[in-house]
Chain length 703, copies 2
């Protein structure tokens, strides 16, 4: 539907005079309004308001090109149109059964006033909970192939908001979050994971909170064929400006494009309450529908794996301790086994047995394939071949053993950042998976990227991840990427792309000092805005697990580990601890065994970034509900109304709560399991210990 008034206005004032319009263009939905205008210099700008309160003050738009004839200066407004969309779609899997996509779109057509007269459109979509916009280059003779060197997108914030941020490292997002005022953003004291970021450069999703209670989240949607956007923070003016991740040539090039083309959507989610941020489907709605026709083979799932024992230093990925191995020409049977190789046939069978006993469909095995002796840190191209098992890992035997027990092994493809090597071997690797009954693969990109000079978050790698999502789909394989760029909702388009890491996961509690208790209360407001995370929760042995670091412990109680299965949404959830540790607490493990990974409905009951989170979800195709509540380092008593349950139906609630005296640091494993009958009129009082949580299963009782 076109807004005739706007076109009429343009025809009257804008197009006919070919002069800059005196008036701004506006789009709005409910309380959110977006204003586009050319500033005094003729440059395009936009601003966002929520119910009359400024969210983003007038902020510049623009794109610089390598040939010096980009879109940085004055532009002429050729015209504009709006349309209203209100539609509903069903995700293949997700937090809710059905998603409403309702927005008003404003498309602005711009042109360079002088030769070459290149054209640029800016498309805004205004939702009830925020705004998305992107640059689009229409097909035009004056612009075909071009190189973006800078994007001049700005977000002028009206005040010195509190921000939850991580450094703008082009190669890693595995940082703990810092909460600070914008005026205090400084990455200097933070130890670099890969490369040091500029002192005032941060990553998205960036979560912001204003002094007067506005919650604002800035990120991007549908990152394809373009580098990731980081943000440079001006600590005086509170202006955020886009910083695109450069390519590998060292020339300052950011993106090589061919018109017609468009950037990803820049997203601003805004609400006057924190739960509304978490409930937003704006980013998903800005992604394209599924490219896969047949999705029946895609199966959200829980899994265990030969993994934590390596993370904590009790087993090794490698078969031998030899260093300086070359993939070609090594006879692996001649190496001296180190006796600590985790991925040996007998050990894997233990995990298969445990999975089969506890209705866990998947078993990940890392370190199964040759090349781990000196895989990391050498910028080595031929690092893995993805098809040759170590001598003590019997692929065929394990395939049969797992199949007989109704379990499927999950493949692991660590690339060590050597993406070129992976790409040239993907065909063979996926054939190998199909031949040996694997349905899902976890990929990894630890270390410096090859093609050398490229970044994890640059255009070339962004395209690699998307190609890998498509290529795995072509072979009907699910994929879970670690160390890839943080997600931007592309799991809508590629529903076989179940999860990503792309943040600091639970593993940091294994091999390093870990993350503070608030970490998991921030993740949903930041990293998870883009999509599911393979966080690998479920650690039951919370102290004394790390070989060589006896004092190390999780910053979590056991009950909180259970709650994470609800609060950190993912269709792929690991039960990350060792079978022997679960066997010590099988009563608690029952919650992990019960909890679904796919949902019909989700309610964000309580939320405050950095503080607490309470979420209830209804299992897909069931009447069962599951509830998770977590807190930061502070104890809390959360009062939860169960009014999301269907009226008049009795439920048995099983409550997995911190026991009195529990705390993450002193007494993390103290939990108490209680049962009670509840209805939609019941209220639960959940005591959360410092660093604690509570998990509740709610199953309907027979009528």
């Amino acid at each position: 539907m076109k807004h005739a008034f706007l076109l009429a206005w343009l025809l009257t004032f804008g197009l006919r005079a070919a002069a800059q319009p005196a008036t701004a263009l506006t789009a709005r939905l409910d309380q959110v309004s977006l204003t586009f205008a050319l500033n005094a210099a003729g440059q395009p700008t936009y601003a966002v308001q929520l119910g009359g309160r400024p969210v983003v003050l007038p902020s510049r738009l623009g794109v610089a090109l390598a040939d010096g004839r980009g879109f940085e200066g004055a532009l002429t407004l050729l015209g504009a149109e709006t349309k209203d969309v209100d539609e509903t779609w069903q995700p293949v899997w997700g937090e809710v059964r059905s998603i409403r996509n309702r927005y008003q779109q404003l498309t602005v057509h711009l042109q360079q006033p002088a030769a070459p007269g290149r054209r640029l459109d800016v498309v805004f979509r205004v939702f009830a909970d925020g705004v998305g916009f992107r640059y689009e280059w229409p097909r035009q003779p004056q612009l075909q192939y071009f190189t973006v060197t800078d994007e001049h997108t700005e977000f002028n914030l009206p005040a010195d908001h509190k921000a939850f941020w991580i450094p703008g490292d082009y190669d890693s997002n595995e940082y703990a979050y810092t909460s600070s005022r914008l005026s205090e953003v400084d990455t200097t004291p933070i130890k670099a994971i890969e490369k040091k970021a500029a002192p005032q450069r941060v990553q998205t999703p960036l979560m912001l909170k204003s002094a007067d209670g506005l919650y604002v989240n800035i990120h991007e949607a549908a990152l394809v064929n373009y580098p990731a956007m980081m943000l440079n923070v001006d600590r005086q003016t509170f202006r955020l400006s886009s910083q695109l991740v450069p390519d590998g040539t060292g020339t300052g090039a950011k993106a090589y494009l061919q018109a017609p083309e468009h950037t990803p959507w820049r997203t601003i989610v805004v609400a006057d309450n924190a739960p509304a941020i978490l409930a937003s489907k704006l980013i998903l709605n800005l992604n394209e529908p599924s490219k896969l026709q047949d999705t029946g083979w895609i199966r959200p799932q829980k899994y265990v794996g030969v993994w934590w024992e390596m993370q904590v230093g009790r087993a090794s990925w490698s078969y031998a301790d030899s260093s300086n191995i070359k993939l070609a020409g090594t006879d692996w049977t001649k190496l001296k086994p180190n006796g600590r190789h985790g991925a040996n046939t007998q050990n894997v069978k233990r995990y298969i047995d445990f999975a089969a006993q506890h209705r866990i469909p998947g078993v990940l095995v890392e370190g199964w394939n040759v090349g781990w002796e000196d895989w990391v840190g050498n910028w080595k191209e031929d690092v893995f071949d993805f098809v040759t098992p170590y001598p003590d890992f019997n692929v065929a035997e394990l395939q049969q053993y797992a199949a007989a027990k109704g379990v499927q092994l999950i493949m692991h493809h660590e690339t060590a950042g050597s993406a070129t090597n992976y790409e040239r071997r993907q065909d063979a690797a996926y054939r190998f998976m199909q031949q040996h009954g694997y349905a899902a693969v976890k990929t990894g990109y630890v270390g410096r990227i090859i093609p050398r000079g490229e970044h994890h978050d640059g255009q070339w790698m962004v395209n690699h991840y998307v190609r890998t999502a498509q290529k795995t789909a072509d072979s009907r394989l699910m994929v879970n990427m670690h160390e890839a760029v943080r997600p931007t909702g592309l799991h809508r388009t590629y529903p076989n792309w179940l999860a990503n890491e792309a943040a600091r996961g639970n593993e940091f509690n294994a091999f390093a000092e870990g993350s503070p208790p608030e970490h998991e209360t921030i993740l949903p407001f930041t990293r998870l805005m883009g999509g599911p995370m393979d966080y690998t929760p479920g650690i039951f042995k919370l102290q004394g697990y790390a070989a060589g670091a006896p004092q190390r412990q999780l910053h979590s109680t056991l009950a909180k580990q259970l709650a994470l299965y609800v609060t950190l949404y993912s269709p792929l959830q690991m039960a990350a601890d060792l079978p022997e540790n679960y066997n010590e607490h099988l009563d608690a493990f029952q919650f992990i065994e019960d909890v679904p990974v796919d949902w019909d409905d989700t309610r964000i009951l309580q939320a405050e970034p950095g503080d607490y989170l309470t979420i209830a979800r209804q299992g897909k195709g069931t009447q069962e509900w599951y509830l998770g509540a977590i807190t930061d380092e502070n104890a809390r008593q959360q009062t939860v109304k169960l009014d999301f349950l269907p009226a008049g139906r009795k439920y048995q609630a099983v409550i997995y709560a911190d026991a009195p005296g529990a705390s993450w640091d002193k007494n993390p494993a103290a939990y108490r399991i209680s049962r009670q009958t509840v209805t939609s009129r019941s209220t639960l009082k959940l005591p959360l210990a410092p660093g604690g949580g509570a998990a509740v299963s709610l199953k309907p009782l027979a009528q």
Copy 2:
């Protein structure tokens, strides 16, 4: 065999004192001697002599590493050993049936005198016709992964030799040769093909001639996992120093290595006569034996192709004239055909018919696959998919048509330099070839390389070419690479790698002004030292062939075009002209039909770089001989003794010669075919026109 005296000497003087040896180490064979010594600064040096005449004066050796702890300074001589080798091997195909590999090897063990005490070996092989040497890094704890930033290999020449050179462009070798003194080397006036070289930087093989009649050729052998070596010329001192092609990061890195590893061989072929240079097998001998066990499927062959008509502008590679095409999402059947598409089914059948009529086994078809509308110059990654034919190219129909006539189509994979795209599609592309009866592929790398920043001749691409040779072999496919790095004898190791372009081919006469008549007299002394070239000779219509450039003509007579099939050795030879042009001269085409592409014996009868060349070869497994004689811009009468023929046997000689009055510029198509009976005691007088040549077939007469 160890030379006990040398070891004893070392134990006495070298190792025990851990001081620099007072005496040099020497290896020699016949007239060639090699001397290794540490200079006053303790740096390793070498020198080469031929019969007491200096070939290379004492010259520095050394390698710099990125960590600053390389092999540039003083080194300690740990020891040395020599061995003598004399063996004979049979190439899968080639210029001769059997090759003798006879050399004395001197291995010098060096170590850094201070921490980290890294070790470096230099291995010299002294042949009767020159020297090869390389750097080797043994396995050692103090050096595992390392990055080479410079190789300080020098060639100090004793005088201001005449040199035949092309600019040291990292991305192209398609230059005409300049003949000049070393003191006059200057690439400034030369138009760059890809990137401009530094003014005094030239490529190898570099052919040199001293004032007193020494012929010296400098190149490298077995270029694997290392960048190509170019040479910087010092015009005052006549010192050549190695310049490795850099990688794509812009950091100055040249090669990423892992010990144990070695560089390619640096080769110096030397003789007191020009034919001995061409007869040298030194470079082949320095390459590894074939990696392929079964080579029965490898078939040297002639071919025709849908190619010259595009080169001369009479047909197009593309199906449509649309520009700005994207590979993904384009419906090629909806494009408007331009009506000039060469690779259409009917046109291809014409070539198949011609090939079948004239015993030509192969038909190359370029432009068969989608993507040619704007393939070049855009640094575009997804440029071709290698499996989708244009709508007017019927793969199955042509496969059947060709097979019925005993002809095989040759596949074409132009990559436009997008090697990453090719690598990720190679598996599918080679499966497609196997499914459709293709046995050979011509690859191309026109344009800037992707991974962006990499060079055609850098380490990453060198590895790509070698991988492609191995990967095609794995699928039993032959390969012919265009725009790849110049060869270094790797066809011994990968005999399915039939040919390369890697120099200025005949095509420059089609789309540009071409090469001077001397060009083909220089190529065997330069580019062909490394391996066969797909030069695409055999143009019969020598004037008026280029659409839009009616004055353009070849710098060759027709008879010379025939002679090239003998003088430019290749197991893959195109008959490059159009069938209709051959049909005008079927009597001359008989030579192309007859001439083999694989040989039992070869005699370099007359040779002088830049002037003339006369070569006779005996067809593989036959008693037939073929002779080619060519000249530069000067007419010559060459007197050729046929004493290479078996004594006492009568042969019919068919002589394809320039007719009186022929010349490349005024009367190029004037040829005369004559027949005479000859024996080993006969002498032929071959009149060569300016830019002319002569071709002779010699078939034994029935006894």
